[in-house]
Symmetry: C2
Amino acid sequence: MNSPAPIAPPDRGAAPADPASVRVPHDGLLAFTAAVFADRGLPPGRAGAAARALCHGDLTGLRTHGLANLTRLYLPLLDEGRADPRAELRVLADRGAAVLLDAGRALGLWAAGAAMDLAAERAAAYGIGLAAVRGGTHLGCAGHHALRAVARGMVGLVASNCGRQRIARPPGGAVAMLGTNPLSVAAPAGENPPFVLDMSTTAAPTGRVRQAAREGRALPEGLLCDDRGAPVTDPAAFDAGRAHLMWLGGEAGRYKGYGLGLTVEVLAALVPGAGLGPHPDALAGDGGPHGRDDDIGYFVAAVDPGALREGAGADAEGLFGALLACPPADPAEPVRYPGWHEHHRAQECRRRGVPLAADLYDELLGVAARTGLTAPPVLEEGR
Amino acid sequence: MNSPAPIAPPDRGAAPADPASVRVPHDGLLAFTAAVFADRGLPPGRAGAAARALCHGDLTGLRTHGLANLTRLYLPLLDEGRADPRAELRVLADRGAAVLLDAGRALGLWAAGAAMDLAAERAAAYGIGLAAVRGGTHLGCAGHHALRAVARGMVGLVASNCGRQRIARPPGGAVAMLGTNPLSVAAPAGENPPFVLDMSTTAAPTGRVRQAAREGRALPEGLLCDDRGAPVTDPAAFDAGRAHLMWLGGEAGRYKGYGLGLTVEVLAALVPGAGLGPHPDALAGDGGPHGRDDDIGYFVAAVDPGALREGAGADAEGLFGALLACPPADPAEPVRYPGWHEHHRAQECRRRGVPLAADLYDELLGVAARTGLTAPPVLEEGR
């Protein structure tokens, strides 16, 4: 079995698949995941949407936001009642282009996509549409939801705070006040793969740190630092309280990363009135991560260039095509853009099966056994 | 005279004022700058707005985007006919919440603020408002225009591409394809200074590199690199073609900075149909900066939380107040947020006068002599 490494994005830090891995059929993996969610009470359509959102991580190589989170995050959320499988999105205010929604603890894997569908409908009418959401739970890969706008020829923007979960310290601060606050923007690119930026505003998301800790891999410098700002490469130091997440931009540019994290907090949580990281309650923190990621807020927006002018589709194809045609410094490494590698990797996974680390596949077998469902078969075993 | 350094933002990289500097009265500086623009044909109200936008840089410490650009950028734009002092903003499409405007080469220092006023009017009605602008010229500090939304209790977003000027290479590319593509977000913070993020998506804007070159100062690592990616600290290497701007995020995170730069290109230029950096024409570039910053596009948006819910103002005050109350790692360096330092510095400048480097003041005396206007008097001489 080939490793997916050759088409992994060179700068996203996605680790190559574990050498001990299997491939499972994409359709079977989706059907199994949807059945697991349906077993927890999600209506069928919603379970399917949540499964597609979760498997998007494994399909595109963002393994930290894929099925690894099924038993670590989503099933516990449902089993503890922190997520409500049947909650409807409730409209609290509707100003035409902008709608304020209460997600009522619905599973974010589904709710964020439903919010994007609403934002895109409004964008088709008004040129821009916004669904501002409170009461949300973890939405998975923000880029998956942003891509729903691209299917309609629109630009999609999705940002999420982390509710009251505080993980990252403001520069110079001794107490964690903010989440990793992800931000995604997706845009059509004509016949080229869509542009998809999907990033934490911290230097890395916590999932990447914890995955490295599970796999016993050191992290590169620039992601974690100690109390005095010195670089830390041992991922286990994070959950041991001996290291903190750095902001995007490194030491010199951290005010920009911090500012982007605050931008997400403002747009995704202040605007809809969701749980805020920076809050007087946060001051009781002891320096490390604290608080729970309940009452998450989302900023879900769509911009429809076609509602404003002709020719945007051709211009988009020209823009991203010009980037792909940029002469590379090293002929062996052609120029790409965010989303290109993920698109090609997803195509390969649909064709050849989705690679899953052996221990992750074992987790799915455990879920299957406990729910009485059948796990997807192994197509191919890795080295 | 005290240096403004103690209240300069620690991470913005704003250099302390030149030791040989003067302070001039804020009102006098604004009136002089407005008179210079009026002399070039701007209607009086527009000349005043452009003067406030330009002086915002010197007032807040973003000296690279202040009066230093009067003789380097704005007067040449007007004198060469690349900017039209009297062009009106023409509505090409109006979808209620979103409006497409052609700025017709109006001076961006004025036009971007006028676009924000329109976006904010639409946000008051629809919850969100967008003015998508093509045909623009350089808008100065994006944060100044984003702040116009804050005056109405709204969140302001301003992004601008650099038209067809290509300065930064895509990661792995041998040809410059994108501009420094600034992005600004401003939000109310109650009784606290407003939040204002105002950043280039490259590690530094070109103005910072060129200012360091003029002043003979080395740059910190992380802003420029050579053809092989090795760090360069000599700012003169940039215009000599021996160094390139790096993306925000450094070597490890550059795909995020590049993705943010592309986000600005999509929102600010693809949506309105302005000049694009990545375009087949760009492939003729020789590796260094090329192309002109004509037909710049802006994404100017406002979100009105008050149109969606009650209590957003109090929540904003709580959010930013909690950050200011965060226990600092070093008691001598309290926790702040982007916009805090700039607000306090501007207050001091309004009270004590605006510090200008001696050579910049000499440039203004030269402009005064050539236009028959009187430059603002010196209040105080520096060391």
